[in-house]
Symmetry: C2
Subunit: 319 residues, 2 copies
Amino acid sequence: MKKAVEAIKISESFLITTHRNPDGDAIGSELALAMALWKMGKTATIKNLHSVPEKLMFLPNANKIHQTCKVNDCYDIAVLIDCENLERCGNIFSSENYKTALINIDHHISNQNGSDYDIVDCCSSSTAEMVYWIIKELDVEIDKEISTCLFTGIFSDTGGFRYSNSTPIAFEIASKLMSYNIDPWEISLNLYESKSFQSQKLLGLVLNNLEISNDNKISWLTLTKDFFKKTGTTPSDAEGFINFAREIKSVEVALMFREIGESRVKVSFRSKGSINVAEIAKYFGGGGHKNAAGCVMNGSLKEVQDMVIGSIKIPVSEV
Amino acid sequence: MKKAVEAIKISESFLITTHRNPDGDAIGSELALAMALWKMGKTATIKNLHSVPEKLMFLPNANKIHQTCKVNDCYDIAVLIDCENLERCGNIFSSENYKTALINIDHHISNQNGSDYDIVDCCSSSTAEMVYWIIKELDVEIDKEISTCLFTGIFSDTGGFRYSNSTPIAFEIASKLMSYNIDPWEISLNLYESKSFQSQKLLGLVLNNLEISNDNKISWLTLTKDFFKKTGTTPSDAEGFINFAREIKSVEVALMFREIGESRVKVSFRSKGSINVAEIAKYFGGGGHKNAAGCVMNGSLKEVQDMVIGSIKIPVSEV
């Protein structure tokens, strides 16, 4: 990290980017780093493939993040945040867009470590935790705005300090960030209490379709296209609905089937214990992590459900 | 606190109790203190008016908590935990049940401070945070089991580190507790991922009844008696449902109307901002806090809804 910090100190202009569909850790980390660089008198521009999700627009300077398919300018340094490779940021930039170095700041074990300065630590709770240390190393004083962004990053990636990456260090940093007078309730209101009336109605319709296997280990939700029409919602309103199937006590694998075309269905998988849903999703042409995966399949809702649930029954019965 | 700790050190037998309908902070604090006393070679018995909620039964030694309407034995010291007065613990004991002293450990501002040793600190995130300091003062080594109980207490009372009582100190203690190898995800699974299939179906029915006022500031849910029959659930399965009305972005006041008899309706109130719902509930014969209150009213669902929503419209329109 020291070498990267030295390179940052002597450079003037920075391009910062992150992965597609950026989450709280990605946006929070980008903004915190940019604000630290601004405080050092440097130029830092954030450019992402996708726009900032509405619920993260409360973050200070979120409106300064640009959306682009292709970066045209040239900077001293490009910083890839919370992103395992260039493809994941949508290849919006290449080596032509930076003069000195590419810096990679990430906590994903899958990171491909191919930059000039790789700061990759898969023991960190979040990329925001790593940016905290970098800002310390850069000798920039943390303020309420930087703290809000870093806290949001850690909070998002630890599932609100619930996941196993909620390490003692994550709590310790959160404690330090809290002392900059940030308001965790205000952050929570923005992250979790900004739902629309329509998306709650959509949830009601989807829950009416909740089903469970005879052994209570597999539970699934079905979302038909006409639910969106009925409620005036879009697929982004259904984000997280699969958790309502997962949070049933006996459930080992939760599924959501979403109709995306005449004969096309998006299947999302979540598992709680030992079942590797990435393998199942891969078998059907998709991918993901052990506990969260997805695929898109051809067929009617009924056909796809029968096929997928049938294929899960054997591994689940062995749990 | 020092005097209370001295009294604890020289005493042998302890009665520990807490408030009606005990929550994670109450049960976690009781168990942590009892285990610390056991490690000191003392006798400590936990007796509560109500039983331990199913979702907290994972806590170590939860099965050793007794349920009783009246304590018969006599102890050296009685400890009232997370409880503002004797009435709130159901008056299950009196001065006849302890020889030396009554100790009061609580973080509620409403605590009536009437014991021999009052340890009341309304700046603490939770009673568990206070029990942490007491255990330190007693010189008992914290272990994984005590840590799990204290962490659960802090986690519960800060709403998973989301509320404004998530202080830097709460995070600092959480960091120290984490180092005893506790598993936050396991705790979360028990607290939040132990729902029943039936309660999720009930949620679906209730969300189908979600309504919102024209100005989008008041949202309400209606739960009729036949929903319980249809889904084979009980009122405890509907705990927290009101949050689905509250978490709508524009909403200032969320309500839930639950039919409890032929012409009787329980009304729950939640507010996000400046509206004091306790005052509204009080007007209808109930009570509560500024942001969470309730009352029971006579009338049909329709009559009660018209009355309550009508009375809220004026204060809400001024927000």
